[in-house]
Assembly symmetry: C2
Homo-oligomer: 356 residues x 2
Amino acid sequence: MHTSNPILAQAWRGGIVESAHRGAWAVVDADGTLHSSAGDIHRPIFPRSAVKVLQALPLVESGAAERYGLTDAQLALACASHGGEPAHTTGAAAMLAQAGVDVQALECGAHWPYRDVTQREMAARGETPTALHNNCSGKHSGFVCLGCHMAGSGDARGFLRGYVQPQHPVMREVTAALQASTGYDLADAAVGTDGCSIPTYAIPLRHLALAYARVATGQGLRPGHAAAAQRLRAAVAAAQRLRQAVARAPQMVAGTGRLDTRLMQRLGERVFCKVGAEGVYCAALPTLGLGIAVKMDDGNNARACEVVLAGLLARLLPLEGDDAAFVRGLADVPLVNWNGIEVGRLRASDALRTAA
Amino acid sequence: MHTSNPILAQAWRGGIVESAHRGAWAVVDADGTLHSSAGDIHRPIFPRSAVKVLQALPLVESGAAERYGLTDAQLALACASHGGEPAHTTGAAAMLAQAGVDVQALECGAHWPYRDVTQREMAARGETPTALHNNCSGKHSGFVCLGCHMAGSGDARGFLRGYVQPQHPVMREVTAALQASTGYDLADAAVGTDGCSIPTYAIPLRHLALAYARVATGQGLRPGHAAAAQRLRAAVAAAQRLRQAVARAPQMVAGTGRLDTRLMQRLGERVFCKVGAEGVYCAALPTLGLGIAVKMDDGNNARACEVVLAGLLARLLPLEGDDAAFVRGLADVPLVNWNGIEVGRLRASDALRTAA
């Protein structure tokens, strides 16, 4: 990062800017045309959890989701970074059971629920977390369902072992979906290990936004003459299925009080959005045929990318009345202290909040 | 922030920089001479909790600490942003009792302990937090002790009411100490409200580093011919008392696993360091007569300012053997995922880690 990305969000206190967040964003349509952008949208960045919906495409395309009777809520969970609330953990457990396995199959690791209220409730009951409480357990349960389907009549548990490894058949399918939807050559990409132990590939914002525009429209998810027409239709149908699922079950994608959930509860299918660790946010706008991708330079906390996404949505979506006020409000949030006193504001920068 | 501050810390994953943190730092001696710096050290920033030791000077200078028999641990608590562990809450409660009041006197507000293990232990016992668990309760207990002392033979509770307000006699003393030690005219400074409801004044890093150099040496804390010799001696003694207290009771300043505590447990009186919200860190180096002040542009998480401070300490302090390795290790920390796999590193930038 030799030249600076622009300031996209600022924390105000006492009438001055206390802290500021630089970053970049891209808005692309499904043809790949750049609609608008700011900052360096060509630098490869790790999208982290923001690409879960792309990683979930094989689950649906392959027929595994239908085979195991996965519900809307469970498909939404497959795209989720959830708060570990009871609906999340029981949902993931049910997915595994429907595929004939259990929590032992998960390789994401265990952690206390992201939602602190749920943490304390568990502690009060003397419970400790399992892999089901891991915020990625829905995504991993989806991988496990895909693996059980791919195992065919063979030993599912044996087939699944090591599914988080890049060269495992399950992960190869997932990576292929990521490559096809982004149009970015992952063979040359920097690859790291994600929090939940699957590989994460560094992809530019321009390509991530394109992938989300394709999710928005269903177009181009499996591009190229190599793609059989049937596979293409399966991809389009899969994208639509997942978009509908998250719109019908927004509580599953994140949880109580979380931005993704609140936005989708309010706007339904007009927005599918997903946060990723290290300040990443992606969104699909089906009614506009656009995809958005945001990365904050400093990465390490969601507050900045949340107001930036809200600022972009306020600019792009034709909203009215309460919906417009709701989204604008998410781009300019109060900072409240321990006595409930408003002590500052967190705002998307002016350039984002002014009408395009 | 029109021009960019330099990158001071980077988060690495998969062989590339995933996220980066810009900021500024200043190192100053007690005469006010700038030793070294990077970035904009003249922009006023809110130091937040990093100035607690300055705000605690009147507690000692006034004789209140001696009057109420405050121990080393309690004086350290008066400078603390603690994790809400039992030693912290009982320590604050004892300070109040020694001054003849109780938790009702505190105006900082209540919150769950910063330390998540302690949160869960409380939840398991069916307990809910009080103002004693507020990370600032030691500082506020110090303000209350000062107020009880100032109330003289009058009604202490009545006198104390509203002590968090800028114009209250207690807060005027605290602000005067801040002004004298930093040499910055707070009458013209931007003023905000802190998380614990006291005022916070925006002060440039250069002046914050100077204040810490004065804490390091005891010199210049009450500058100017208006300062009576006795008051000057009281200020020098107060600084030394507080430095000793935090060195003898580092567990009180932050708590289990926290950087301030770990550094001071290791290095004793060679470093007095204190973090502040929004990416601020200050440190006094008594053996070198220097003060350090750091502010990360993005502010909102401690990870960056921690490795930056460690990088500066590794450069400045003449350390050997295990001590040197310990401090260098804090400037280059592993990022570990939910399965305990090392997936990246968080590092102070090269410019910080190379020997001066």
